[in-house]
């Protein structure tokens, strides 16, 4: 049976842990709020971009543009988004599992670009080829941060090194649910021109081809930026839930330890009482 002192020490240790997990829970909660706002704030740009692209696709033969061209038989590049820090539940494991499934489906023909340290570490362990790594988007990603990544992916695609580029990232469904998704970015598939005014009615300045050339690089960066924002929101919500569970577990453990501490204390008192009683009887 553990001594009273040991138990007291353990209770103290678990209390400290609880304090830390609770602090992390609250920090994640406030960062989640900010990440969600950033995600929502970036959506209009993404949506209007889609619309303009659909308008352009209606007047131009976009299939001619190299960013729309399917190169059949080329290798596949996966852009894997995970977090830099751990302690955020099963989030990264789920993303990595999705990646490995894609790799196994088409062995030897899939390369990855990682954004986020956790994904890089896991994929390196699994011996999946990583051609580049980007880190440090931080808790508040800015559009400028993703441009190098977008440029790399676009250049490699244009150079014909890859026939297809997909994003894999944890989509923020709700605070409790983050689901890894595979989203194609290249070749670009324009949405149907159903919203707003049909593309044919627009005047394009200077001309449709120039507008398209200016739009496309940004289009890729916007898709990637949106995924980065979703990843941040997912990270924070997953961390918040994981830390909430940890705090609750610590509380349960403290209750159990306190109970056994009291039992030991009670047993010790009883024993001492018996000793005193029997001692005084012998003397009498």
């Amino acid at each position: 049976m553990p001594s009273q002192r040991d138990l007291r020490r353990r209770i103290g240790a678990v209390r400290n842990t609880r304090q830390i997990t609770r602090a992390m829970q609250f920090v994640a909660a406030s960062k989640l709020k900010r990440a969600q706002e950033a995600d929502l704030a970036a959506r209009p740009y993404d949506e209007i971009m889609d619309e303009v692209l659909a308008d352009l696709a209606a007047v131009l033969d976009v299939e001619d543009h190299p960013l729309f061209a399917r190169h059949d038989g080329g290798d596949r590049l996966l852009v894997v988004m995970t977090t830099d820090r751990g302690l955020c539940g099963p989030l990264n494991t789920n993303v990595v599992r999705t990646v490995l499934r894609e790799v196994l489906d088409d062995p030897g023909r899939v390369s990855t670009v990682t954004a986020g340290r956790k994904g890089r570490d896991a994929l390196r362990r699994a011996r999946v080829p990583i051609v580049a790594h980007f880190a440090g988007f931080g808790d508040r990603p800015s559009f400028g941060d993703v441009i190098p990544l977008a440029r790399l992916v676009t250049d490699d695609f244009l150079a014909g090194r890859y026939g297809q580029v997909d994003l894999i990232y944890p989509r923020f469904v709700s605070t409790l649910v983050q689901r890894p998704v595979v989203e194609p970015v290249l070749p670009i598939q324009p949405a149907a021109d159903t919203q707003g005014i049909p593309g044919r009615q627009f005047i394009f300045e200077p001309d449709p081809a120039t507008v398209l050339a200016r739009l496309l690089p940004r289009y890729v960066a916007t898709s990637i930026f949106q995924a980065v924002l979703e990843t941040t929101a997912s990270e924070m919500s997953s961390k918040m839930v994981a830390m909430k569970n940890a705090t609750e577990n610590a509380e349960e453990l403290i209750d159990e330890l306190t109970l056994s501490y009291n039992k030991v204390r009670q047993a010790n008192i009883t024993r001492e009482m018996i000793e005193i009683a029997s001692g005084s009887r012998t003397r009498a």
Binding site: A38, A42, Y45, E51, V52, S142, F143, F204
Partner: protein
């Protein structure tokens, strides 16, 4: 009849309001948009975006991007858009010096050269707009 103006950047919605008219820095020259304009999609250069609403005028420094004009709505997709009064003149000045230094050293080339040039131009546009605004306000105060 007012026209709805929305200015969005990749990071946020900067402005949304019903206005009487907009002056845009189109890549092919200044572009004035009034309600019931023909549908138009144009690339934007760098410069001043002026919003007219009644007697009031708001000025934004807009850098790159696109505009989609519909008869009832103008949507500006800008790389960055800052209200003239929000521009920090000192920061813009610093950015200008940084960009000039980068170009002087001459280490940048290719795509980076284009980026550095764009940064310099962006800083200059910001400074010009912020300075003009200060002058205008000064004149008004004296009057």
């Amino acid at each position: 009849m007012p026209i709805r103006l929305e200015i969005v950047t990749p990071e946020r919605l900067v402005y949304r309001d019903d206005v009487d008219g907009v002056q845009l820095p189109g890549s092919e020259g200044e572009l004035g948009v009034l309600p019931r304009h023909a549908p138009l999609i144009s690339t934007l250069g760098m410069g001043e975006l002026r919003v007219r609403k009644g007697d009031l005028e708001d000025v934004f420094a807009v850098i790159g991007g696109f505009v989609q004009v519909r008869p009832d709505k103008v949507i500006v997709l800008a790389e960055t858009a800052d209200l003239a009064s929000d521009i920090d003149l000192e920061k813009a000045h610093e950015a200008r010096l940084d960009a000039e230094r980068a170009l002087e050293i001459g280490l940048v080339e290719g795509a980076d050269l284009a980026t550095a040039r764009a940064a310099l131009q962006a800083a200059l546009v910001r400074m010009r707009i912020a300075e003009r605004r200060q002058r205008r306000e000064g004149a008004r105060r004296r009057a």
